[in-house]
C-alpha cells in the first residue's frame, strides 16, 4: 500500500496547568491514519480531545509529543512549510456563521485563501469555480452577498468553497453539520461525498454523531479521553461494536424504532485533567461491572493500560473485546443488519 495521506503516531497535546488544576492531556497517545481519497469519521463526546486533534492537523496547535506525517513528510511548524501545509489541509468549523467574517462578502471570503497564498491570477474564475463546486450556482449571484443574508446551509457551502479555492487534498471538518437544520444536514454531507468523488478529496470528519459516520465515512475511529479506543470499517464497528464505550454511544444515538433506553453509562463527560490510571474508561465501564458481577477478574482494568489490538478486522482497546462476541448481538446494540453479517 502507498504511503497514507495523513499519519498520526503517538500524538500528545498537553495544555499547561491553570488555576491550581493539573495540566490537561487533551490528546494522549493517539494513532490515526487517513488514506488518499478516504473519509474517516472521528467520533467522541465533548472533552475527548477531538477538536484539539483537528487543530493539530491544520497546524494551529503545536503537539507536545508524537508525530504527524502528511504525504510522508513530518509536519513542520516553520512558517514556510506550515503555510504550504495549510494550503493542502483545510479546516471546516461547526458554526458557519461565526466562521465567516461578517464584514466580508462571499467573494472576499472565498478569495481570502488564494490572496493569502498569492494566487491572484484568474482569482475570479477560481472563486466562481469553488462556489459552484460547493453547490452555490450561479456563483456570480452570491459574490456580493454578506454571510447574514444567507441561510445556514448556504453559509456552510461558502466555508467549504473557501476551502476548495486553495485546491486542498484534505478537509478536516469539525462538526460540520451540528449547527445546521436537519433538512440541510444531508445536503452538506452529500456535498462532502461528492467532492471526494470529483476531486479525490480525503476528509477527516469529526462528530459526536455516529449516524454521520454511517452516512459518509469509510472508516470510523471512536475517541475517548485523548485516545482512539476502537477503529475500523464503518460497517464492522457500528454493527458489531466491541468496545463498551462504542456500545454506549450507539445506545444513546436516537432511533425512532425503539423506546428511549436508559444510557448504558452514567456520569459526566470525562475530565482530561484527571485521566484515570489503567484503562481510561474503567470508572464508567458497564462491561467491567457486568463481568465483575459474574465473577470475572477485572482487576487488571484498573492497574494496567490497554492499547489498540486487532480483533476480527477492527482495532479495539479493550482486554475483554474478544470474550464478548456472544453478548454483542444481545441487549443494547442497535438492530444489526443481517445483510452484512
Amino acid at each position: 500500500m502507498s504511503t497514507p495521506l495523513l499519519e498520526v503516531q503517538d500524538l500528545r497535546v498537553t495544555f499547561p496547568a491553570r488555576r491550581r488544576r493539573p495540566p490537561a492531556r487533551a490528546v494522549d497517545g493517539l494513532d490515526l491514519t487517513v488514506q488518499r481519497g478516504e473519509i474517516v469519521a472521528l467520533v467522541g463526546e465533548s472533552g475527548c480531545g477531538k477538536s484539539t486533534l483537528a487543530r493539530v492537523l491544520v497546524g494551529l496547535v503545536k503537539p507536545t509529543g508524537g508525530a504527524v506525517r502528511y504525504d510522508g513528510q513530518p509536519l513542520s511548524h516553520r512558517s514556510a512549510a506550515l503555510k504550504a501545509h495549510r494550503r493542502a489541509v483545510q479546516l471546516i468549523l461547526q458554526d458557519p456563521y461565526s466562521a465567516l467574517n461578517p464584514r466580508q462578502t462571499v467573494y472576499d471570503a472565498v478569495a481570502e485563501g488564494p490572496r493569502l497564498h498569492h494566487l491572484r491570477s484568474d482569482l475570479r474564475d477560481r472563486v466562481s469555480e469553488s462556489l459552484s463546486r460547493a453547490g452555490l450556482r450561479p456563483p456570480e449571484q452570491f459574490f456580493g452577498r454578506y454571510p447574514f443574508e444567507l441561510s445556514g446551509g448556504q453559509q456552510q457551502r461558502v466555508v467549504i468553497a473557501s476551502a476548495l479555492a486553495l485546491q486542498p487534498s484534505m478537509l478536516v471538518a469539525d462538526e460540520p453539520v451540528a449547527s445546521l437544520d436537519a433538512s440541510v444536514r444531508g445536503e452538506i454531507l452529500a456535498l462532502i461525498l461528492r467532492l471526494r468523488e470529483e476531486l479525490g478529496l480525503s476528509a477527516l470528519v469529526i462528530s459526536h454523531d455516529l449516524g454521520l459516520a454511517w452516512n459518509i465515512a469509510d472508516r470510523v475511529a471512536v475517541m475517548y479521553l485523548g485516545r482512539i479506543v476502537e477503529q475500523g470499517k464503518v460497517e464492522d464497528v457500528l454493527q458489531h461494536p466491541r468496545h463498551p464505550y462504542t456500545r454506549a454511544l450507539l445506545a444513546v444515538s436516537p432511533d425512532a424504532d425503539r423506546e428511549a433506553v436508559p444510557p448504558l453509562i452514567a456520569g459526566e463527560p470525562p475530565d482530561p485533567t484527571a485521566i484515570p490510571g489503567g484503562c481510561r474508561f474503567h470508572p464508567r465501564c458497564p462491561l467491567r461491572e457486568e463481568l465483575a458481577a459474574r465473577g470475572v477478574d477485572v482487576s487488571s482494568c484498573q492497574t494496567s493500560d490497554v492499547a489498540l489490538a486487532p480483533v476480527d478486522g477492527v482495532e479495539v482497546a479493550c482486554r475483554f473485546a474478544d470474550a464478548r462476541a456472544v453478548q454483542t448481538a444481545s441487549s443494547a446494540t442497535p438492530p444489526a443488519q443481517t445483510s452484512s453479517g
Partner: protein, 331 residues
C-alpha cells in the same frame, strides 16, 4: 383535557406582516407527550411560546388556547402569571445563560417556589428532593452554576421547571447544547418524569429521531402549519407527508443499508413567512410534487388511524402514497 389548541395563529406586525404560525390545532392530556418538529423558521418555537403568551408585543395571537378548560388567549395578565407559575413551565435550551451566576442553585430554585407560595414550609427538603429526582445529589443545593457541567445545569433547569408542580412542561430544544451521552440521560429523565407524575409535555426539536424516542405523538411543522400529526413511531416509520419523510431520513438509522454512504437532504429554503401563497407551501421543495399542489386548497386530511397529513397524495386511494416512495427501504 389538559390543553386544547384550536386554530392558533401568530402574526408579527411589520411592514409586511410575518405569519409565523398559521392555524395550528391539537390537544394534549395529562401524561401525554407531544413532540413538535420542524426546521428553524418553521414556527415551532413561536407556537409553543404563544401558548403561554410569552411572545413580544408585536405578535398578534389568534385562535384559542384552553388550558384546563380556561381560555388563555384572552385571560387577564394576573391570571396568566399564575398559570405560568404553577400551571405550566418552560425549559429553554440555553441552560448556561438562564441561571444567575452569583447565586447557589438551591437559592434559585427556592426563589421560584417562594415567589409563588410565600408560606411554603420545609422548602429545603423539598428542593433536595427535587434535585434528587432530576438525578443530582442533594448536596448540590449549595453549588454555584459554574461548578456544574452543562448537563447538570440543564438538570437544574428541569428541577426549577418542576418546582411548582406544573401540569404542563414545554421543553424547547432541551438537549441541543448537550453532549450525546448527557443528552440521552436528560431525555430519559424527562420521559420518566412525565410517566411518573402524569404531567403533559410538549417538546420542541429539529431532530425527529430524538422526539420520536421521547414523545408518544408528533406534530411536524412547516412554514407555520402542522403538516403531519400522529403517533410518533408510525409517523417516522411511514411518513405520509414528504417533508416528514425528508426530516426522518436526515438522521439515519445505523445499520440501514439505504442510508449507507447516501446522506439524504432536502434542497431549497423554507418559504418567505410574509407571503400567503395558494396551494401547498412545501410544493417548491417537494420531491414528489404534482401539478395540483400549487393550486389546491390544502388542509390536514385523515391519513389513517389517529393520523393526519397535509399532503394531497393521502386523498388518492393508493395506500402507500407520496411519502412511502421517498423513504422506501430495501429489504
Amino acid at each position: 383535557m389538559l390543553l386544547e389548541v384550536n386554530d392558533l395563529s401568530v402574526t408579527y406586525a411589520a411592514a409586511r406582516p410575518v405569519h409565523a404560525v398559521r392555524g395550528v390545532s391539537f390537544t394534549l392530556d395529562g401524561g401525554q407527550t407531544l413532540g413538535v418538529a420542524g426546521e428553524s423558521g418553521s414556527g415551532k418555537t413561536t407556537m409553543a411560546l404563544a401558548l403561554l403568551r410569552l411572545l413580544p408585543s408585536a405578535a398578534r395571537i389568534e385562535g384559542s388556547v384552553r388550558f384546563q378548560g380556561e381560555e388563555l388567549t384572552t385571560a387577564k395578565w394576573g391570571r396568566m402569571r399564575a398559570v405560568r407559575w404553577d400551571g405550566a413551565s418552560v425549559v429553554f435550551q440555553g441552560a448556561m445563560g438562564a441561571l444567575n451566576p452569583v447565586r447557589t442553585v438551591g437559592w434559585q430554585i427556592r426563589e421560584a417556589i417562594v415567589q409563588h407560595d410565600r408560606g411554603a414550609k420545609g422548602i429545603r427538603g423539598r428542593i433536595e428532593e427535587l434535585l434528587e429526582s432530576v438525578g443530582l445529589p442533594a448536596r448540590r443545593y449549595e453549588a454555584y452554576p459554574h461548578e456544574l457541567s452543562g448537563g447538570q445545569r440543564q438538570r437544574v433547569m428541569i428541577a426549577m421547571a418542576l418546582a411548582c408542580r406544573p401540569d404542563l412542561i414545554i421543553a424547547d430544544e432541551p438537549t441541543t447544547a448537550l453532549d450525546v451521552i448527557v443528552q440521552g440521560q436528560v431525555l430519559a429523565l424527562l420521559g420518566e418524569l412525565v410517566r411518573e407524575s402524569g404531567i403533559g409535555m410538549i417538546m420542541i426539536s429539529h431532530d425527529l429521531s430524538v422526539l420520536a424516542e421521547t414523545c408518544a405523538s408528533l406534530a411536524v411543522m412547516y412554514a407555520g402549519e402542522v403538516v403531519e400529526h400522529g403517533p410518533s413511531r408510525e409517523l417516522v416509520r411511514e411518513p405520509r407527508h414528504p417533508y416528514t419523510a425528508a426530516l426522518a431520513a436526515a438522521f439515519p438509522k445505523i445499520g440501514d443499508p439505504a442510508s449507507r454512504l447516501a446522506p439524504a437532504g432536502l434542497g431549497g429554503d423554507p418559504p418567505d413567512a410574509s407571503l400567503v401563497l395558494p396551494g401547498c407551501p412545501f410544493a417548491p421543495r417537494c420531491p414528489v410534487v404534482m401539478d395540483e399542489c400549487t393550486s389546491a386548497e390544502i388542509e390536514l386530511w385523515n391519513a389513517g388511524l389517529e393520523r393526519r397529513s397535509a399532503c394531497l397524495r393521502v386523498l388518492g386511494d393508493a395506500p402507500e402514497t407520496a411519502a412511502g416512495t421517498v423513504t422506501e427501504r430495501s429489504g
